[in-house]
């Protein structure tokens, strides 16, 4: 009976104990590829510079993945610089993706994630985007495609020989996560 206030005191005296994450995930070997299509040819820009972290608590994990816009390489520096301009990469140099997933989702073969993407000065939520999961040892590989479009982010379609590229800009995701 007398110990209860003492216990309460101890719990309250160490508030950070209640804030500790149950588990954390770290992104490794990321590959993000955007695809744009033009009547004359299609282009893919690849980045391996993404960084990500997941913080899990009470069965829910908050993930943040970020990648510098200028890290995407389409194999043509002129095109990359033009891409950087049309997506306002000088002003908004990062693409960030946030999502919240249940912790047990790591055991599934497929997950559907609500993705909040900040890019080109816009924030857009893509709901129920399917991703495939493959677990190898402690690592989990996630693959999928984000059905992004230029108009979602208010990006004016770039033109080549006065012909604009298509509005669709799917982004392929291939990431390996490991628990920290």
């Amino acid at each position: 009976m007398n110990k209860k206030p003492l216990l309460a005191l101890c719990l309250l005296a160490f508030p950070t104990l209640g804030r500790a994450a149950d588990r954390q995930w770290v992104l490794e070997q990321p590959t993000l590829t955007y695809h744009v299509s033009h009547p004359l040819h299609s282009t893919a820009g690849v980045s391996h510079a993404a960084k990500g972290k997941g913080v899990c608590h009470a069965g829910q994990c908050d993930f943040l993945i970020a990648v510098p816009v200028k890290s995407f390489d389409s194999g043509d520096s002129n095109r990359d610089l033009h891409m950087l301009q049309v997506v306002r990469g000088g002003q908004f140099p990062m693409v960030t993706v946030r999502t919240r997933l249940p912790e047990e989702a790591s055991g599934s073969a497929t997950i559907h994630a609500d993705l909040e993407i900040q890019f080109a000065g816009q924030t857009v939520v893509y709901r129920q985007v399917p991703f495939q999961l493959a677990t190898q040892g402690s690592q989990t590989r996630i693959t999928g495609t984000i059905p992004a479009t230029l108009s979602d982010f208010k990006i004016e379609p770039p033109t080549l020989l006065t012909i604009p590229v298509k509005n669709e800009m799917p982004v392929s995701v291939d990431m390996t996560w490991r628990p920290q």
């Binding site: 508030p15 608590h57 002129n78 990469g89 000088g90 919240r100 939520v125 020989l161």
Partner: protein, 270 residues
Amino acid sequence: MRMIRRRTIALACSCFFTAPLSSFAQTNDPPAAASAEGDTTFSAGDAAALSPRCAITPLAMAALRSEPGAGADPSFPEDQASSPTDRAQAQGQGQGQAAPPAGNPAPPSLEDLGFGSEQTQGSAQSQALLDKRSHMLKIHQRLGLITTVPLVATIFSGGLAGGRSTSSSGRDLHAGLGALTATLYMTTAYYAVFAPKLPGTEVRGPIRLHKALAWIHGTGMILTPILGAIAFDQKNRGEKIHGIASAHGAVGAVTAAAYGLAILSVSLKF
């Protein structure tokens, strides 16, 4: 009596220890953010006083309610305090990501990922440089396409200017079209040459071929009109084209071919 005293001390201590907890919950959020919610207007210190969710919280709340300016029904600070990350989410078009409940670890931030502020902070100057570069290169592209029209016409009109033809009007037409082509070409080149360069950018891909071909058609666009002028004078004097002027047609053909390839090098994927 002794028991009551102990409990009172324990209760007082618990509140003493929870005060930093409430301050911690508020430090990431400026007072303006709280007032922007429209619930109440109170300072970070007021919010800290409201926060402890311990047994005496209702009492403390009641005490604060009686204070002037404390608002009629203040919500819990956990509802108002949000990290910069949460605010960024709230500013977006879509929501869908609920703020974490109190006591949860903060969601990861860009700093957690190891990105420095120099990487995450954009600048209007950088964007302005990119905008100017793209603007100039778009004009370069358009003028380059427009230039192909008089260039092709000049090639075809070449048949009227040389050979056995003695018509001065054919030569004049060819010379006029050639002059127009050269003028448009130089204007086109100006927008490429003087477009801002971004420091530290390595030139990769088909643009390298495009730039290499520019050395060929650039030289050709200077030589061709000079050789054409010499040939024009020789023809006007009634002479057969001879000497260096006889290379005018060949140089023009190479120039036109290099120019066409330069356009294709950035248009087609190969």
